[in-house]
Symmetry: C2
Subunit: 323 residues, 2 copies
Amino acid sequence: MDDTSTRIEIGLTAAIVAVEGDEPMLLAAGSGSEKLIGLPSGPFDPREHRTFEIGLRAWVKAQTGLSAGYVEQLYTFGDRGRQVPADGAPHVVSIGYLALTRMPDIAGLAASVGAGFRPWYRFFPWEDWRNGRPDILDTTLIPLLEEWSAAPATDETVRPLSRRERLRLCFPVGGSPWDEEKVLDRYELLYEAGLVEEALRDGRSAANAWGERPQLGEAMRLDHRRILATAIARLRAKLKYRPVIFELMAAEFTLTELQLTVEAISGRHLHKQNFRRLVETAALVEPTGETSMTTGGRPAALFRFRREVMQERPAPGLRLGGR
Amino acid sequence: MDDTSTRIEIGLTAAIVAVEGDEPMLLAAGSGSEKLIGLPSGPFDPREHRTFEIGLRAWVKAQTGLSAGYVEQLYTFGDRGRQVPADGAPHVVSIGYLALTRMPDIAGLAASVGAGFRPWYRFFPWEDWRNGRPDILDTTLIPLLEEWSAAPATDETVRPLSRRERLRLCFPVGGSPWDEEKVLDRYELLYEAGLVEEALRDGRSAANAWGERPQLGEAMRLDHRRILATAIARLRAKLKYRPVIFELMAAEFTLTELQLTVEAISGRHLHKQNFRRLVETAALVEPTGETSMTTGGRPAALFRFRREVMQERPAPGLRLGGR
DNA sequence: TCAAAAGTGTTATCCTTACACCCATGT
DNA sequence: ACATGGGTGTAAGGATAACACTTTTGA
């Protein structure tokens, strides 16, 4: 390796998630002067921070004023062509992280530094199926994708599957099922089809003939929306085999609150009773003995997470059934 | 960021896996002059390669003479303290990859470049439960870990769990179950306990009082064994929900061969008939009509992977039952 | 005829899904 | 009393795990 090789910089970026009521929220920073919203992030400097995670926590603290809590690495993105580097600027590689926090812990702090929480479905409106199939799919998204998939593939890269097949795999068209975990695949397909703002910004031509460009979810800075898509996908998958949901809950909660939180993340409706049995037979929670009367109807029993489960079984979670 | 910040280099490292008979094999390169075995790897240069994957494939080709096939990113490791950088040398961050190939494709090529396939359980003898609980656990490993866990935790980092609890979670001690997916957790625990060679090399003191240091699996260069542990863990987990196993199979195979391959990877024994029913009901394979008589007994029917399943269901795999 | 490996049938059990119904509070 | 949300019982269907047994080849 000669010493003139392109300078590389590592960017640490965090998708910080909390749930407020029945809305999943994302912590986004610095939308002040700039039009586009971005995630908390900063470069990794090994002199200052021994590990990525330490560096990440420092950046989050500095930019939002709060501690990140549960943190997990998602993926490392390094494509040239996304985030085109200015001449002489270093090539930036982003390591995406997912962080989970509890809403009450934080509310005020963040705002004081210019950061705030926003509902994450603003960035991915087609991912929220809690009130049935989202309209945007049939009015806008699928027609545009169908147009794209009808055109011949002019791709640089060799692809094992045709555009049609890939569309069928990601989106519910012609009877193919909805898989709530394929959040990233869907975003990547939209990017490739030139249907999200980020793709145009990165110099990809719009693939459709529409005069007015439809807004498919709110765009974000750099590759941050891609990282958020990765975060949602990972979280939706992980819910089912690890008790991560409790990282988002207060110390005590009702079963309905727990269910609403799971529904918020997974973007779909669950069967009340089966959900309760599931939680019960997995012995994930225990009653505190108290009740909450804040919800208007019959008072609900309060529960807390049984931390012991972490040591008992190999890996409990909530494999959710349908409806 | 000032321009004097530590130079960062990105290392791409691949754990390339194939199965030969009933043995899972790992492609390791350049063990010639150096004592320690290493994985194919090299630095990422964004000027030369547009994506990590392209760069990785180039390095693998150059160092082993073969094409990597199925490739998937595993994790990015950046700890200072592992791989201590020489003074003035760049800080190296490694992105680990998992690659799967078919044995027949390759055999000869690799050898001609000094690379070769080795059984992966040489590096992790405690991970192979196909012939029952491995002896090394009770003769060596668990006694040493028990000694370590009895000592008070002198850790720098704040840990939510005690040493005892972490031991119980990773290893089968005192009735706790064996979870074949926790390959990385087990390796990390051994590293932290100073029981693998890599830990001592990185300047971690041996935590036990034994005079003779027992050899707990063959060590590898740099952090390559950690990457291999990540690869095995990922592959064992992924088997169960994606049909990746077929990346390791020839175009046509018998059901017993398929079962032996799954057993090789997962490191445990499966119930023959249940395995067959599983494969059948998942409709993952179809008979070719031919038979194979190479195994000595009654001729076995040959099957091939039904590629169509990739498009039908969201995500088929082989959730293996026990025994 | 015997060893070796392929391939099949059947049952008990558990988990998932879905149905419909009762309970406790505020207004 | 009634609306609102909390909370339960139970039965049908399917997937799993574990039995032991038959079939087809080569030596």
